[in-house]
């Protein structure tokens, strides 16, 4: 049996918060508790792309930070490839890209990758080759000598992904990977995620851009107020069991009429929707951007 990439069991995280009360009877600073994550359990299987979605403040980032070892759970446990996340060896298997990362703006793209590579124990020609390979992968070869202060948001995200996978981790954790990135940059990031999947790298991503999650994830967990609301494959979550659709191409009006007649003959069956399928604004934008390049 292969070990899961991430295994979160009964995770609870409670924060203590302080607030000032001006109430006459209870004046002063009072402590209260905030349950950010409440008995959360989920598993990211090796080689799959798992998306954790939920509104702001639902506990996504807190869960992610526990998996990264940046926070300790109040209760429960989080393991990466069978190792507790507080174990330094577990972190060699993790690549992480935070939301809107800045990195050291005075370093160039190449120096940034060298810095993170050295932290992971890479050196010499192996490191240099890996840097060149990653810069090519994220399409930043032309900007390798440019300082990050001059990078666009999309370029920062891409160098962020490159640093995340510098040590060839088995798990990549992405927090809102396409936040603030234009559709072209966003598409590049999605392609990289799909590439990870092909390479067998597990991906655990948090996002509230549902369409993107739908496009890349094998399984999705929906978290709300710190609890897992629903979890499953995309088919399980979004299929409408009593409906079926097919899209016709170059169908004549008479054929469409025939189909409508056939449906009308069946007792209880109705055509819920019909018309010309529409493309998305995003696809249109990408098509235009692609032809203008």
């Amino acid at each position: 049996m292969s070990t899961s990439a991430v295994e979160v069991k009964n995770l609870t995280k409670i924060f203590q918060t302080s607030s000032y009360s001006a109430n006459v009877f209870k004046k002063g600073i009072t402590s209260s508790y905030l349950v950010a994550v409440d008995n959360l359990s989920f598993t990211v299987k090796a080689g799959e792309v798992y998306g954790l979605i939920g509104p702001n403040g639902s506990g996504k980032s807190t869960s992610m930070k526990v998996v990264l070892g940046l926070m300790a759970p109040t209760k429960g446990s989080a393991k990466v490839f069978g190792l507790d996340t507080s174990d330094i060896r577990a972190r060699n298997d993790i690549g992480f890209l935070p939301e809107n990362p800045y990195f050291y703006r005075h370093l160039t793209g190449e120096e940034t990758l060298r810095f993170y590579g050295k932290l992971c124990g890479l050196k010499g020609s192996a490191l240099q080759d890996r840097i060149s390979e990653l810069l090519a992968l994220v399409d930043l070869e032309g900007a390798r000598k440019r300082r990050l202060a001059g990078y666009s948001k999309g370029m920062l995200q891409r160098i962020g992904i490159a640093q995340a996978i510098i040590q060839r981790p088995r798990l990549v954790i992405l927090d809102e990977p396409t936040a603030g990135v234009d559709p072209v940059g966003s598409r590049q990031i999605r392609d990289l995620i799909l590439n990870f999947k092909r390479e067998g790298i597990s991906v655990f991503l948090c996002s509230h851009l549902l369409e993107q999650v739908q496009e890349v994830c094998d399984r999705v967990g929906i978290i709300f107020q710190g609890q897992m609301h629903s979890e499953g494959t995309l088919d399980e979550l979004i299929s409408i069991g009593n409906r079926y659709s097919f899209v016709l191409e170059n169908a004549s009006p008479s054929l469409i009429k025939e189909i409508q007649k056939l449906v009308a003959k069946e007792k209880g069956a109705t055509i819920a929707e019909q018309g010309h399928p529409k493309t998305t604004l995003e696809h249109l934008f990408l098509k235009i951007a692609g032809t203008k390049k």
Partner: protein
């Protein structure tokens, strides 16, 4: 593209190499933040000092003034830089989320803290070394010029024996460029090291760089009035047990920065016994160890 399944590097639990990577990264970051502009200001100051002739003052007192100003400036640079540069490191890494990417790699929190401190200290050491060399060079030029002028003045003045001439020259050289002045630069470095370690400690629980800078400078100033404040409290309380205990804790936690002022004696030309330098070195090491230990205890359990 090579895949993840290729043979991976064994990760040591503790690594000097990771500390060095963080230290050199910190140095690069600080250098590129153009903090070295201060060195240009210093070079201009030293050059200007070398060209100022105080007509009424003797050669000896002129050299003494140049040394005091130059080494005083070096000392201010060292501790101020230690505060500002150190205060910028951890809070900024946290604000920019760079800390997340570093700590999610196989890096121990102690390695991160030591690496950051080492980076600042290396940069201060390099800056002090450059400033010291500039100062020594200027003193050497000034000293040579004073010696030549003195010899001309002796030749045209009343008769002096060779011993008297040598004594006069030795007096000038005593205040001139001497390698022993390196001890004064070392004293500034030791003081700056303690200040940087204290600032690292404050930054582990501070919410911003500004808070860290203000608090560190506050404790630095208190550290200069160490003995005076402790005596004042003890006298005022008539030796009250609680006050005595509090004074002891205060003395233990806040370094007595006056101890590092032995550099003033070196600059004035006084002889410093090596034991003083060694004991100050050990004291600095002790402070670094204690401050790093407390910083780590806070940082280990800090949640980001």
């Amino acid at each position: 593209m090579t895949t993840f399944s290729e043979t991976k590097i064994r990760i040591p639990v503790f690594s000097i190499s990771r500390i060095w990577t963080i230290a050199t990264g910190t140095m690069t970051q600080l250098v590129r933040m153009k903090t070295f502009y201060f060195l240009i200001v210093f070079a201009v100051l030293v050059t200007a000092l070398g060209h100022i002739d105080i007509m009424s003052a003797s050669a000896v007192s002129q050299l003494e003034t140049i040394k005091k100003v130059a080494f005083g400036t070096m000392d201010i640079f060292a501790w101020l830089y230690a505060v500002v540069a150190t205060a910028l490191l951890i809070p900024r890494d946290l604000e920019d989320r760079t800390l997340y990417t570093i700590l999610s790699k196989p890096v121990l929190r102690i390695e991160y803290l030591v690496g950051k401190l080492l980076g600042v200290l290396l940069l201060i050491a390099a800056s002090l070394a450059l400033m010291f060399l500039a100062c020594l060079f200027m003193l050497h030029l000034k000293q040579s010029s004073f010696v030549s002028s003195e010899l001309i003045a002796i030749q045209s003045g009343p008769y002096m024996t060779e011993t008297q001439i040598n004594e006069q020259i030795a007096l000038i050289k005593q205040q001139g460029a001497r390698p022993v002045l390196a001890i004064a630069a070392l004293a500034s470095f030791l003081k700056a090291s303690v200040v940087a370690a204290m600032t690292i400690l404050i930054s582990t629980f501070a919410s911003s760089s500004l808070f860290t800078i203000i608090t560190s400078i506050f404790f630095f100033l208190i550290g200069h009035a160490h003995g005076m404040m402790a005596d004042f409290w003890l006298n005022k309380s008539d030796g009250n047990f609680l006050v005595r205990m509090l004074t002891k804790i205060f003395k233990l936690l806040i370094p007595d920065f006056q101890l590092f002022s032995f550099s003033e004696g070196v600059v004035s030309g006084a002889t410093i016994i090596p034991q003083v330098v060694w004991s100050m070195g050990f004291l600095t090491g002790g402070y670094l160890f204690v401050f790093l230990l407390i910083s780590l205890m806070i940082f280990m359990y800090k949640e980001f």
